[in-house]
């Protein structure tokens, strides 16, 4: 199956816009701040070469950094999950499935699989991001609380997006 680059460009733009215009303004109960823009990395095809995946993740991260005055912070978190995504995929998916199915979607892979996959990526991303952002282990428990609660919200939003937009 041929990959349509414009479709992924659109996903990139929509993910970034959703994040910087809407979700960056959200703060619930003083600790929950969702980061849903990694939706772009989540949806990239299985066969994306690993190096390309990391480069795309870097570009995505720097784009978000551009809007939040945090040079390198989102970029480094994105490169990390770009590197880990194939590892996670190999952990939770059989080789045959990866060869026969082209895209990680709820419709292709089932709800349970998709939620697990998103959870791995989101938790890794948030854990790294919140600690780099805080740049200290001082308020360790508070940062952990932030990571857990924000992750739950991000996972719900990303999985939900599969039923609202980007069904393909």
């Amino acid at each position: 199956m041929a990959i349509n680059p414009f479709k992924y460009l659109l996903i990139f733009v929509v993910s970034v816009l959703l994040q910087v215009l809407i979700f960056n303004n959200i703060l619930i109960a003083r600790v929950i701040a969702p980061f849903v823009y990694i939706l772009f990395i989540v949806l990239l095809p299985f066969e994306t070469p690993r190096s390309l995946l990391m480069v795309l993740a870097l570009i995505l991260g720097f784009t978000v950094d551009l809007f939040t005055n945090t040079p390198g912070v989102h970029a480094s978190a994105c490169v990390l999950i770009g590197f880990l995504r194939p590892v996670i995929l190999n952990l939770i998916t059989s080789r045959e499935t990866l060869e026969s199915v082209s895209n990680p979607r709820v419709s292709n892979m089932g709800f349970h699989w998709f939620a697990t996959y998103v959870a791995f990526l989101v938790v890794t991303h948030h854990l790294f991001l919140f600690f780099i952002e805080a740049f200290t282990f001082d308020s360790f428990l508070l940062t952990i609380l932030r990571v857990i609660l924000s992750s739950v919200m991000s996972i719900v939003l990303i999985v939900l997006s599969q039923f609202l937009i980007f069904r393909n």
Binding site: S51, M54, N69
Partner: protein, 287 residues
């Protein structure tokens, strides 16, 4: 040599990862100082224009409330002006007639040091450790770095970077920024910063515990930073404890400004800022 290339090829994914991660992390660390944010600044053309367009739509709904607030502020200012006129004319003043205004301007020997302008907030965040605000005015409108930013007479932040049409402001809710502040009642001062935990509370540090303070005391600016006039409201003391093994209070200050709802802000320019900075820089060379 051939083996080395083989090795690099075999593990090229890992090397690419190390390369990209090192690059982005070093960017993150070298730009850890808020003043050095240059290219990655929400006042740049791309994000500035985007925020401007988006906020002009979303803020339509907030303008009614903003109008009400400004009307209230007008009344407060008008009554303050009235009082000042009464005082300055030593009782000769009878009606609030505008004829008396030029006389006062002539009387005062002091030149106005602070100049005020306004701008619209086009982007703002409270949900990060290092929050910034983007304004719709820039160099072309006379905005300069180090201008103070206030909302309804309360401290909000400090202009850090200015582009042609936009400017970015480091918010008081940014753990990298500190400002000196004092307790209005007794003039004891400390340094005010944010611990990144609650967007409604900041912390007043370095206040020795022999100073008498109580809940509800007003905390105001000192004027030492020269970006803000003295006595500008910051908030009120909501809680204080003596840290164990420390000579200083841990003071929580409830912010006066509502950071979740900033639409129009005022900008304060100290016309003597350059002179003060020049003078103070002389001391640094002396060391």
């Amino acid at each position: 040599m051939k083996n080395l290339f083989k090795l690099i090829y075999r593990y090229h994914v890992f090397f690419v990862f190390i390369l990209l991660e090192t690059f982005s992390l070093s960017v993150a660390i070298t730009n850890n100082n808020y003043q050095r944010a240059t290219f990655f600044d929400s006042g740049n053309f791309l994000s500035g224009t985007l925020f401007e367009k988006f906020s002009s739509v979303t803020q339509i709904f907030e303008f009614k409330q903003v109008n009400l607030k400004m009307a209230e502020e007008n009344i407060v200012l008008r009554s303050a002006l009235h009082e000042m006129l009464l005082k300055s004319n030593r009782g000769n003043y009878r009606t609030s007639d505008s004829i008396y205004l030029p006389q006062i301007a002539k009387d005062s020997s002091q030149k106005a040091v602070y100049k005020f302008t306004t701008a619209r907030v086009i982007n703002n965040s409270i949900n990060q450790q290092h929050n910034f605000i983007t304004l719709n005015k820039g160099r072309r409108d006379g905005i300069k770095p180090d201008m103070g930013v206030i909302a309804n007479g309360q401290v909000v932040g400090l202009v850090t970077n200015v582009s042609e049409n936009f400017s970015t402001v480091i918010s008081l809710l940014n753990s990298k920024w500190k400002i000196s502040a004092k307790v209005k009642r007794n003039d004891y001062f400390g340094s005010l910063s944010w611990d990144g935990k609650d967007y409604r509370r900041v912390q007043l540090n370095e206040m020795p515990y022999h100073v008498p303070i109580q809940n509800g005391d007003t905390v105001v600016t000192t004027g030492y930073s020269s970006s803000f006039p003295e006595g500008l409201m910051i908030g009120t003391i909501s809680e204080f404890t003596i840290g164990s093994g420390s000579n200083f209070y841990k003071i929580e200050v409830l912010l006066g400004a509502d950071f979740k709802n900033l639409v129009i802000v005022g900008l304060v320019e100290n016309k003597q800022l350059n002179e003060i900075k020049q003078l103070e820089s002389l001391n640094k060379y002396g060391n």
